[in-house]
Symmetry: C2
Subunit: 282 residues, 2 copies
């Protein structure tokens, strides 16, 4: 498997950073992650928009521009020949001379086997736990997951699949996923603020036939939700059937969650067909 | 200059980590930093206590024990032959197969030229700015400095030397230093909670002749403080003469700050002499 670092393609085993890099010294960096499905990097421009926004928000300048970056990505896909995969782009704070000031950034692009939800998770839905926390600079996809990684022990010990953050009584997001509930009137709500805005979340908000809206979800709203689910690039839509000790609705994946999942699959399929048609016409 | 990684001494240029390390992927790791003065690693056991506490708090297990680690440190000092230096020990989340789960940690020990305050900073004191923020898991020395590094731009633009965090009206700490004020009754106060407990701070709290106490410092207390200063391993005691737009006291380093600085230098000198005497007697 090849990776790309700064200006060269290298076997992933040889993709290294000197320990003076600000990611290692100070956890300073940003990243983004998209998936390749049937050889198509899905919704790539959305991910690149967010990637460049994260980089500039954290003062990480002089990374390759969009066209150049796409060339590198397609060259990496060509070299690795994986029909389905995840691609991660990391920009770090660079080789800092004093271990604190930002230096010219290091760019790392790696390709990975997708880690998908299990069939049981998709069919039966998952249990989640909750934790009071608000991420620093939530709108930016920094590499700071110190709390998320640290909470994994508690997640596993609770027989849960993930942990939902809340702060000052408002629910926000998971470490790596967005959160949605279906209310009793069948409206679908996802938190509007203090979150990282996911691309799958964006696809759902764009849906015309199914009403999905940004709003506020309180801890009390969790108790009365009819359905709940999370979204992410790799997990798509995953039903949530238990939150801490409480079942969601009847404790089974709900009808609207399933309708949205069907619609999302259709959107992905369309995008893949559009891409291949475009490629064939060039 | 040599560095130590996991089980070997390497020239620092060759000290690298594969990009799968959880520090690069998720900013996950801990560290500690002590100084070597006149060939003596000052208060080493205090730093090692904190180092091991940070590692176990973050579930970073199977790092070398204290005696083994001291052997490695002294071997590194011997190889690099720097009379005065900083030594940094980093433990990362290791080479994670899924970029999220903690793996066997990587240990990195590096030695550096000390970056000391300038004579002007020591003699005239420094200006600082304030920022509302509370660090995640403040009692643990994680590598997460994403806000501290990000704020450097604002610090520089404000012609300041550092940024003091406060939260819910209580002052806490700097990204890398502890904070103290001298009240009008000449008592010295440093915040007691939501901070990383510095070793220099500990030395001050141990002083018998000068009353230094843990307590609460509010934003209002900053306005009425007679003197203010910060402490850190490399900066020792650095007078603060301006906080945002307000002068502290008469805008000059104060008498008690200077007395504490003299006392601290004496404590360091004693420790160095004790170490050399012990070494000579072996």
């Amino acid at each position: 498997m090849y990776a790309f670092i700064n200006d060269q393609f290298l076997p992933i085993e040889k993709a290294t950073l000197n320990v003076s890099d600000l990611a290692i010294q100070r956890g300073y960096g940003i990243f983004d992650f998209f998936k390749v499905q049937n050889h198509v990097p899905l919704f790539l421009d959305d991910y690149l928009d967010r990637f460049y926004n994260s980089a500039s928000s954290m003062y990480l300048e002089n990374i390759p521009g969009r066209e150049k970056l796409k060339e590198i990505i397609f060259e990496l896909l060509k070299r690795n020949q994986l029909a389905n995969a995840g691609v991660k782009m990391i920009v770090t704070g660079g080789y800092s001379t004093d271990a604190y000031q930002i230096a010219p950034p290091n760019l790392i692009i790696t390709q990975h086997t997708l880690i998908l939800p299990t069939t049981a998770q998709i069919e039966k839905g998952i249990k989640i736990i909750t934790h009071e926390y608000r991420r620093d600079i939530p709108a930016v996809k920094t590499i700071n997951y110190i709390i998320g990684v640290w909470l994994q022990k508690k997640v596993v010990e609770s027989n849960a699949s993930d942990v939902l953050y809340h702060y000052e009584n408002e629910v926000t997001e998971f470490p790596r996923c967005n959160f949605f509930i279906v209310k009793n009137d069948d409206t679908v709500i996802t938190p509007s603020k203090n979150i990282l805005k996911g691309i799958t979340r964006k696809r759902l908000l764009e849906m015309r036939d199914l009403k999905v809206n940004e709003g506020t979800i309180t801890l009390q709203d969790l108790k009365s939700a009819k359905e709940a689910f999370l979204t992410s690039t790799t997990k798509r839509i995953l039903p949530i059937v238990q939150i801490d000790d409480d079942l969601v609705g009847n404790g089974k994946p709900g009808r609207i969650t399933q309708e949205l999942d069907t619609a999302l699959h259709a959107i992905e399929k369309e995008e893949i067909e559009r891409f291949h048609a475009l490629k064939a016409s060039v």
